[in-house]
Symmetry: C2
Subunit: 553 residues, 2 copies
């Protein structure tokens, strides 16, 4: 081996430095990837991960969610965050791993719509708490039907990504079932667009079947009521669609299957493949493949032929009953409650597919008439002086004329609070030509209007741009659906605004004429020497005629 | 246990679905996080990861890098990517893990400037190749000093994140040392801003000590020569600075240390802590802590006191000799070769610190005078008609007037090719008021100028916004340094441009006068009845005076 200069090292020395990196260490050092890059974000991310899990658990168990969030300031920049749900509870032997191990969960390996999908978020919150205050996560959980609850402290052993647990005991708990998580961490409590309050408000908007209560560190006590008692249907798990599979994955599936022959393999491992389609795929593949070929024995070249056959043979589009959109009615209810607006437009698009994954887009627009006009139109088109909107919901999102529209983004009913600029939803909104629909829009910016745009993407697998799940990646199929949804709503908005403008003009003209009608009557009376009664009749007749010819439809 | 409705599940059923997720499965499903979201990006990311590793290995071993990249089209959308280096080679028993296991490497656990830091990139490339074509990564490596090379095929067993290897043998290889990686994968070969060629061009710019050769699928054969034989000094590893440590991490370090007392612990585990500072920290902490306290026995409240003391007691700023910037001279050389410009401004800022991590910013500006002017100024300020720029380097980056400036971003000498919008460097450039320096700049956009802006961040730990390492996260300390570096260069650019404008005016005026001087001479001759000799002397005198009064400094 050649002589080395000082400071430089040999291949053997280099080898000695190679080491395994635990996934927990990795995310501890890169905690910004999971949403723990600042004190303010850490508090919100913790609440978000806990609430996501709580909603998922309640819905999977068929329970109407009842969620309570408390944030207490313990010291300067030190907070206790507590999230409590009425879910089915967690089995004692699962608690440690669920909260003390990254990449452990029930949602990663299945194709079904859920809020969580990685099995990382809540453990990462615990890890961050541990890192900043040295305190373990405190978990209390009572399983539905059990008489006592389990209480324990858990942290992540980061060098091995394993849970470390202490103080486990069974306790009495006055809740019949549910889970309470408490974490002490460095944080910064903030108001505004990235606040816990705003997150809960938007979560309530997208989850009208859930009830939330928030107690903040400055005495805030806010409740969001349930707007419906209908639970969304339980999420249905689907199998992958053959068109979404890659060659390497197909080879892996062939090796791992328990199916005894190729015909059964194709039918049981994929959705939308019946015996007829399976036979056609096998016949198209050729290469000595038959219905009775043993999956594990299929060679690389044969697998490749099978892969190409799958792309050639027509297969029905993926099942879409696995998707649970919010739905137009409920989205409307949510918007009415959480956004202070005059009218709303909603649209749930039909399901579509990207890379074999079903997804569905929903768009809502809420519009507030500029305060001064005071005009409102009822369903029959009659002009009424608008009763001042009831401001009973003082915390509602307010919309301002000549300000950029407020964009609320959601994925699987979870509000996306950060990374607006890097999200497919934002891009679709920016690329929509709002001028075409009569709105002001600076180049490359959000339209300027007293408007909120709500966009929801539901999918069995949401392609997020990072583990922090704050923005959706740009798949062409998703972008297309987003744009179609936005355009539909924008068109209906433009119609409504045009109609209102026309009505306003009519109203202005008519009141103008109405003002002068008595004077016309007096002039007629003088010219034609009418009696007062005749004059009044003439005025009434003129008024009637005006109403008929200018009838507002 | 209460009766469940169909579709809903109990806590026990939920528990049965909980499973561990292998980190390889996680990144396979989320491969866009590692830069494998599209066929075009997959090719580039593979080259990038292999070249990063090659450069790191060469530099660590004190070898001038000599790197060859080949891309061959095997079938429609199927490519073979080969990257070969002259590095020190990899020990046979390490090859499988380095290429067949995610989160395995030598760079994660130390604080030292390197291109790689995660131990994931190249294994992910292999995983993507396996997924899309079913083919394992082919690795050939010869360790410096050994007589034969090792050849083997390796893939990632994704369900367990372990390497799977086959076909290992010792072979003759005509290279004295180095590593060759070959991967077959789905891909799309593209030209332009996100091409392999552009990546190599920029890599050559930031690594003037390295030589590159690229053979593309369409017969491209491009070489980038070495511009210097001086290797950058070997990266120095540092210990964490006490100010960058969090409470939880401090507790972890107290538990894991081999130091027998607190005094030794503080000195040996942190940089910049000598006996005096250590004693002061211990005294400030109080709480019964002494120099001889056993680190493993320190209670939570004591650790907290220690943590607060560390923040109070003055500690020298972190060491910065661990940083290896490109340097002004070399950056200038690289820019001269790779960017077709008329003049260049470079600035290496002094080192700074974010979260205890030293970092350093370098900025370069290359400016091309619009073709028509043809004015150039040498060091003495004399006006010369500019010799037409030699266009010998036909592949150089060309700059256009009235086009947005070209922004080239680098982190630890690696060009960042994607996610420009989400990068701290871009934000710093956009927030710089270029109008103030005489340039056109649309609101919120890059300045419009025939200019390239090069920004390099060197750090012992670059905070990337995602595992794909395409953008730098926004830390206030980093943003500040970026802005200062940009402002300095912009100021010098403005001076240079003002000077050129002034010179151009002088030049225009003078040549104007010079044109009329002979006519003035003739007029004087007629009025004063001068001889031809007297007339010529008068003209010369006038010319001299003009040159003196209008002297260009």
């Amino acid at each position: 081996m050649s002589k080395q200069e000082p400071g430089y090292i040999t291949a053997a020395e280099m080898a000695g430095r190679q080491r395994e990196i635990s996934v927990a260490e990795f995310f501890l050092k890169n905690r910004h990837l999971l949403g723990f890059d600042s004190q303010a974000k850490a508090l919100l991310t913790t609440v978000k991960e806990a609430v996501d899990n709580a909603l998922d658990a309640c819905e999977e168990a068929g329970i109407l969610p009842d969620i309570r969030v408390r944030v207490v300031e313990l010291d300067q920049h030190i907070y206790r965050v507590a999230v409590e749900d009425n879910g089915p509870g967690i089995l004692e032997n699962q608690i440690a791993r669920i909260f003390g191990k990254l990449l452990y969960g029930s949602k990663f390996h299945k194709l079904a719509q859920s809020r969580g999908q990685q099995g990382m978020g809540i453990s990462a919150a615990g890890m961050y708490a541990q890192l900043t205050t040295g305190k373990s996560l405190h978990v209390t959980s009572r399983v539905k039907g059990e008489r006592t609850a389990t209480e324990l402290y858990v942290s992540v052993d980061t060098t091995r990504n394993r849970p470390r647990m202490h103080g486990k005991k069974r306790i009495k708990w006055d809740r019949p079932h549910g889970t309470l998580i408490e974490a002490e961490m460095e944080g910064r409590y903030q108001k505004g667009a990235h606040s816990i309050e705003m997150y809960l408000k938007q979560t309530a908007l997208a989850n009208p079947h859930a009830r939330f209560r928030f107690d903040g560190p400055h005495g805030e006590a806010i409740a969001w009521r349930r707007k419906t008692r209908d639970l969304p249907p339980p999420p249905v798990e689907i199998k992958p669609h053959p068109r979404g599979v890659e060659l390497g994955r197909l080879i892996q599936m062939l090796n791992a299957t328990t199916s005894r022959n190729l015909l059964k393999f194709l039918q049981s491992e994929f959705s939308r493949v019946g015996p007829k389609t399976a036979r056609e795929i096998i016949a198209t593949a050729g290469r000595n493949l038959s219905e009775r070929s043993l999956p594990k024995r299929i060679a690389h070249a044969q697998a490749n032929a099978l892969y190409r056959a799958i792309r050639k043979v027509p297969v029905s589009a993926p099942r879409t009953d696995c998707l649970v959109p919010i739905g137009e009615t409920r989205l409307l209810e949510g918007m009415k409650k959480e956004i202070d607006a005059d009218f709303r437009i909603v649209r749930t698009r039909p399901p579509a597919v990207y890379r074999g994954n079903p997804f569905q887009v929903e768009v809502g627009i809420a519009w507030a008439r500029p305060g001064g006009v005071g005009l409102a139109v009822d369903k029959k088109g009659h002009i009424t002086k608008a009763a001042r909107r009831k401001r009973d919901n003082a915390g509602a999102i307010a919309l301002q004329a000549d300000e950029p529209a407020q964009l609320l983004r959601f994925a699987n009913r979870v509000p996306l609070m950060y990374e607006q600029g890097g999200c497919a939803i934002t891009h679709a909104v920016l690329q929509t030509n709002w001028k075409h629909y009569g709105l002001k829009q600076p180049k490359g910016a959000l339209p300027l209007a007293p408007m909120a745009i709500i966009v929801h993407l539901a999918s069995v697998w949401v392609p997020f741009t990072s583990e922090a799940k704050e923005a959706i990646a740009e798949y062409p199929e998703i972008e297309k659906e987003l744009k179609l949804g936005l355009q539909e709503c924008a068109r209906r908005l433009a119609e409504q605004l045009q109609r209102e403008t026309r009505l306003q003009h009519e109203y202005d003209k008519r009141s103008h004429i109405e003002t002068y009608l008595p004077h016309v009557g007096i002039a007629l009376q003088e010219i034609l020497r009418l009696s007062d009664k005749q004059r009044d009749r003439a005025v009434r007749k003129l008024d009637d005629t005006l109403h008929k010819t200018r009838k507002i439809q």
